[in-house]
Symmetry: C2
Amino acid sequence: MVIVGGGFGGLFAARALRRAPVDLTVVDRTNHHLFQPLLYQVATAVLSEGDIAPPTREVLRRQQNARVLLGEVMDIDLTAREMTIETAGERERLAYDSLIVAAGAGQSYFGHDEFAAHAPGMKTIDDALEVRGRIFGAFEMAELENDAQQRATWLTFAVVGAGPTGVELAGQIAELSRRALTGNFRSIDPASARIIVLDAGDAVLPSFPGRLQRRARRDLGRLGVEVRLGTMVVGVDADGLDVSLEDGSSSRIEAKTKIWAAGVQASPLGALLAEQSDAEVDRAGRVSVRPDCTLPGHPEVFVVGDMMGLDRLPGLAEVAMQSGSHASRAIARRLSGDTVERPFRYRDLGTMATIARFRALAYYRRLRLTGLVAWLLWAFVHLAFLTGFKNRVAAVASWTVAFVGRGRPQRTITERQVFARMREIEAAVAARRSGNERAKHPV
Amino acid sequence: MVIVGGGFGGLFAARALRRAPVDLTVVDRTNHHLFQPLLYQVATAVLSEGDIAPPTREVLRRQQNARVLLGEVMDIDLTAREMTIETAGERERLAYDSLIVAAGAGQSYFGHDEFAAHAPGMKTIDDALEVRGRIFGAFEMAELENDAQQRATWLTFAVVGAGPTGVELAGQIAELSRRALTGNFRSIDPASARIIVLDAGDAVLPSFPGRLQRRARRDLGRLGVEVRLGTMVVGVDADGLDVSLEDGSSSRIEAKTKIWAAGVQASPLGALLAEQSDAEVDRAGRVSVRPDCTLPGHPEVFVVGDMMGLDRLPGLAEVAMQSGSHASRAIARRLSGDTVERPFRYRDLGTMATIARFRALAYYRRLRLTGLVAWLLWAFVHLAFLTGFKNRVAAVASWTVAFVGRGRPQRTITERQVFARMREIEAAVAARRSGNERAKHPV
């Protein structure tokens, strides 16, 4: 059997089959599992990429019935029960009897993929390293800039999206500008950086209970993060964002650094599966599965995690883990002769988000936690779920340095990033000189 | 005054001036200092880039008389006492009264820069991350490869250069293939990897005493590393190396992964300085300075570290630190009215190299240390010189995991690297199909 994806869904599916009499292949386009809830800490130099992205094959090392293939699934043929994988530049066919598709979701720019060049997303290690280079590069550029207005634009960070990723990222940028960079610069005051969170909706952390939404907004305000709700991004360029407000007016935000944490779009493999079955995909690309997570008419195919459209379940790591395990248990039961179909029931274990050091929000059923208690719970839960002992030790060490102390252990920018940034500026300067930029976006 | 370079020479020069009445500017093309003696551990996934490359401005944070500029020195005008810096895409002029040039050395391909694409060097963080992606990518590709001969080529790692970097890197690749990757693969045995160290000279660690050279060779042999001396690389391509032997015959080594740790070439700023003064540059680009490290005829300009050609001193971190400090002390003395010229005297504090975990070589004057004692000394000295408390804690944690345990904490390959590798293979496959490769390099 085959599992597509080494994220939370795929990895928990694989692990749930460790004692099952199956030959299991996990196909992933990267060499690593990714602990996505901490990706924002890689982007803000608290953690290294290795801390949150252990190699999938190392995680499954002891599971003798599992092999891991580095490759990209190009096609799935439901009738022939085989898929086409591109590995090492060659296409190969891989047959399956059972299939779990857990390819996750990517960033969605809501039809404006051209925004991506100026506003990288926050879904992969590559994204996080790119964002890291841009954030720390922006402070370097501000230090070099002689023009006060340009300097302010370098020191403005716009985060699009007020969900957990956007809020956590904005909080960390605020903390690093206020604390971690203290004393580092001579021409600028990094603490003067403006951090703006934009969202078209009307709430911060919209999936959270109202009381916690208000608390999040207040906590962000205390950190000096500006929150602009009811603000839709309609244009992104090298120097800033064009936004339209709820009253129909439009406005401009000058910000060299833009990060997109707004929308998700499930893997296009979902549409591929839907085309060949009676399933449908919703606007976010999620596949309408049956209550047991199988594809309608194809009980041998499970769709789990962020790709799964079921009961309006949110795109959380916890949902992916549980649905992945559910699919594997169903497959294991079938192999032992039990073909009774059991619906997937999500056990909500609560949701949490950190705003800043020692400050988080959490809820579980009717329980609401805020402040330090929520933060300690957050730290404990995230450590418990981090894969591997060393990653836990490293995370505790890094958190101690970053949150109790004021350091950021991972501020290294590669030369490639520095020179890419400089070339971008050169182009922007050239464009400004020719007057095009100014004419297009009068300040 | 200005210091060019934030390496060991520049940083120690800056620190030695912390109490001097000067306005100090450190110019560097990267945002970080680099602890180069541990670069091979970033390449082999023991340490993260942040562990060995702290931001220069963070290191100099408390030194109020120093500012750090991210920029590249394009020209130095000794008569006008000013330099041209390219920062943020714009060129600016920077005047100096005293100047310390510590721009270090880059990799030298001995006139064959075209080798670089197939055999990256080991001088920068970018190099180390590239090498890391290639090493771990090669094992991934070997696992995917069906052709036995191609698989063997993926599992062959050629390190060019038998100096400390080459030896340490080869030792670490051997250890990771024998220990860290155990149980990770299903189609290949990573322990079957061939690691070859090539050198045109006739010794391993040529700068070490003869007894330690022989010990290094024996230790490498025990690790399963092949050492081929008297072997000059005359060609490098995607699939391997062409070499010529001392007896004039030529040979071919099939190896997908090649790493260049052979030669160094001092920064081209050296030639720029020599042109305007009575100094000369040697074949490796080092500037012949006066005994006090100044440029002949320009007592206000010091050249230190790897760029300095003086008394045939080796290109060691220790030489850079001491010569950087020496230059700064001379400047500080002049400011206090003492213009007596004092020659630079290098205090040899010994040299060391690790072959594998718990196995190193060290010598100090007549003292020779090998094995575990040398390794403990190596670990102690390298920890003492690592910049920053967190980096020390992180290094100890990583070393414990990697050397006492068998993990490699930093095996993450970015998607960009994976896809770059796959494209390279695609091209190689296409070339093989068209028969060009075979015709050019018959096996």
